[in-house]
């Protein structure tokens, strides 16, 4: 019974595919993998926008949207209608073709990236041998799309925003990939399905998620920081900084194209959160073996919502970085730390055969020191002279 509920979508898909003549089956099978992605994630996007606005309202001690529908829950529908009916403005000096192609070039990679994430047991749209590399490869396409948007608008703010965005994405892509490399190194596979399956073993009742190892914990934190920067979320949202360059590369976009950009950004957020879940949070596995009766896809989407809520919480809490702080963080802190994390992962792997009592504690301590000492050193170097001190007021006393 538990098995049947867990596999309900897989069984349903096989049944539907079986209804078609043999020549059509592969086509229908592909279609049945694509259509749910195209339906579920835009729906999730709509839900996320309202949750985000409500949560930000709560954090900032105000109501948030509460006019459309009960408790403002129909706000996404109203927003969508507004976007669809708005005039689509193209600035006169703009490069029309590139201006038109930019939103398309942004949204296609975001959708493609979603196709290698395992959403549940046997529920992956395509199981590629090089799935992780595919994810990063299509992610690289978004940089050029952002540049197209910023450059074609012929607006200095949009060009500035695009340049900031590209610099930020290129810089943070390196710690992002290096954090993933430690997982790849220990699992020995680039396939997302293989990585999730490697996290299915147990110590007692606890599953072997990568989060429960020192390098996995550190890698997860590094990965999430880089992911926030990669998807232009606060506190790394300087490419769009409304208060400085009004909306960055989005400034000349209106109507449906703007909606596409917005959608693409959130799809990228879902994709990268899904990848974080796949790499570190055990994919669709339950954390404890006694919770395994809950279907796998429920676990996946539960974790996805938790990570999205974490991003919303961060957005409501942290102030925006300056561009030099952002670059310093990427090159002087994140890059060396992620390289050190690979070494820590190797140490963890080679001390796996320690048998004496308290070996686990020793390994944790060793890895903790290996990671912690450079953390303290690099962190203090990054802070430099700007130590936190008691604030003094010149005129207000």
């Amino acid at each position: 019974m538990v098995e049947a509920i867990d596999q309900i979508f897989v069984i349903a898909k096989h049944w539907v595919v079986g209804q078609f003549p043999a020549a059509w089956q592969s086509f229908v099978s592909v279609l049945l993998s694509i259509v749910p992605i195209l339906m579920v994630f835009p729906l999730l996007f709509a839900v996320t926008t309202i949750v985000e606005r409500k949560a930000l309202g709560r954090i900032q001690n105000r109501f948030g949207p509460n006019r459309v529908g009960p408790w403002g829950l129909l706000q996404p529908v109203a927003d969508g209608l507004k976007m669809l009916t708005k005039e689509d403005i193209i600035p006169r000096p703009a490069d029309r073709i590139v201006h038109f192609l930019a939103p398309v070039a942004l949204i296609v990679p975001s959708l493609l990236a979603l196709s290698v994430i395992p959403y549940g047991r046997n529920m992956v749209p395509i199981d590629l041998d090089a799935g992780l590399l595919f994810f990063f490869a299509v992610g690289a396409g978004t940089e050029l799309a952002v540049f197209m948007a910023g450059w074609s608008s012929r607006n200095k703010y949009s060009l500035l925003g695009a340049m900031r965005a590209i610099a930020q994405m290129v810089s943070y892509e390196i710690p992002l990939i290096l954090a993933a490399v430690s997982v790849v190194m220990l699992v020995g596979s680039l396939s997302t399905v293989g990585i999730v399956e490697a996290q299915g073993e147990r110590y007692g009742w606890l599953l072997k998620w990568h989060l429960f190892t020192p390098w996995g914990l550190a890698g997860f934190v590094l990965f999430m920081i880089a992911a926030a920067a990669e998807s232009n979320r606060a506190p790394f949202d300087i490419p769009e900084g409304e208060s400085e360059i009004i909306a960055g590369y989005l400034v000349e976009y209106s109507g449906f194209k703007f909606a596409l950009f917005f959608l693409g950004e959130y799809l990228g957020l879902f994709a990268i959160s899904g990848l974080a879940i796949t790499l570190f949070l055990g994919g669709w596995h339950a954390p404890f073996s006694f919770l395994e009766w809950i279907p796998s896809y429920v676990w996946f989407f539960g974790k996805l919502s938790a990570l999205v809520l974490l991003f919303i919480w961060l957005r409501g809490t942290l102030p925006r970085l300056r561009i030099d702080q952002l670059m310093n963080l990427a090159w002087k802190f994140m890059l060396p730390m992620s390289l050190i994390n690979i070494v820590v992962a190797a140490v963890w792997h080679y001390t796996a055969d320690w048998q004496f009592t308290g070996a686990l504690i020793c390994r944790w301590l060793l890895c903790g020191i290996l990671f912690g000492a450079p953390y303290v050193w690099l962190g203090s170097a990054l802070m430099g002279e700007n130590k936190f001190a008691k604030r003094t007021y010149r005129f207000a006393d």
């Binding site: 992610g139 396409g141 050029l144 540049f147 500035l160 900031r164």
Partner: protein, 186 residues
């Protein structure tokens, strides 16, 4: 299969020709990205999955972005009133056509070209990884050295000389609104 091949061919060659002949440098760079994407599709069609994705990651994600940055930094944005092609363009075109003709002639007259695809040529990640760590470990180390040297070299070449900072950079800074992006990001 043939249809797919011809679609990719048209896409790649059109992208390459456009990259070589358009007036606007940024358009050239974007068309170059299309050509690179077409090449990646060729690699995927030839069962070389890893190479195909690496092509996208390196060429579209890094080289194309780098070229775009260089175009903006050298103020190539204003299309120059001067002619597009250099004065000796007929010679260059002739040489290129000659090379193409002789290559095609060689390909058509060769017996190698007629051989059929091996039934199961697969380059799995596992094979590539083990080959890199056994037979190709020296080239791997060398390429690591080369990339490090290139990184340092690129930073030093493009670094601003302290003396040149005072006067000539002024109009440049005013015309190209580029934030201070460290060159080492490649």
């Amino acid at each position: 299969m043939e249809v797919v091949f011809f679609i990719i061919t048209v896409l790649t060659l059109a992208g390459a020709i456009a990259a070589m002949s358009l007036r606007h440098l940024v358009h050239c760079a974007l068309c170059l990205a299309v050509a690179f994407g077409g090449l990646a599709a060729f690699y995927l069609q030839l069962n070389a999955q890893f190479i195909g994705f690496a092509q996208i990651l390196v060429y579209i994600g890094a080289v194309a972005v780098l070229i775009v940055f260089a175009i903006l930094l050298t103020r190539g944005i204003e299309s120059a009133p001067q002619p597009l092609f250099s004065s000796a363009w007929p010679v260059g075109l002739g040489v290129a056509l000659l090379v193409f003709g002789s290559l095609v002639f060689a390909i058509q007259s060769s017996s190698v070209a007629q051989q059929q695809a091996a039934p199961s040529a697969q380059a799995t990640i596992r094979t590539i990884g083990s080959q890199l760590m056994t037979n190709f470990v020296l080239p791997l180390e060398l390429i690591a050295l080369l990339l490090t040297a290139a990184l340092i070299g690129a930073v030093i070449i493009a670094m601003q000389e302290p003396s040149a900072k005072s006067t000539p950079m002024k109009d440049h800074a005013a015309s190209a609104p580029i934030p201070s992006v460290p060159e080492e990001q490649r």
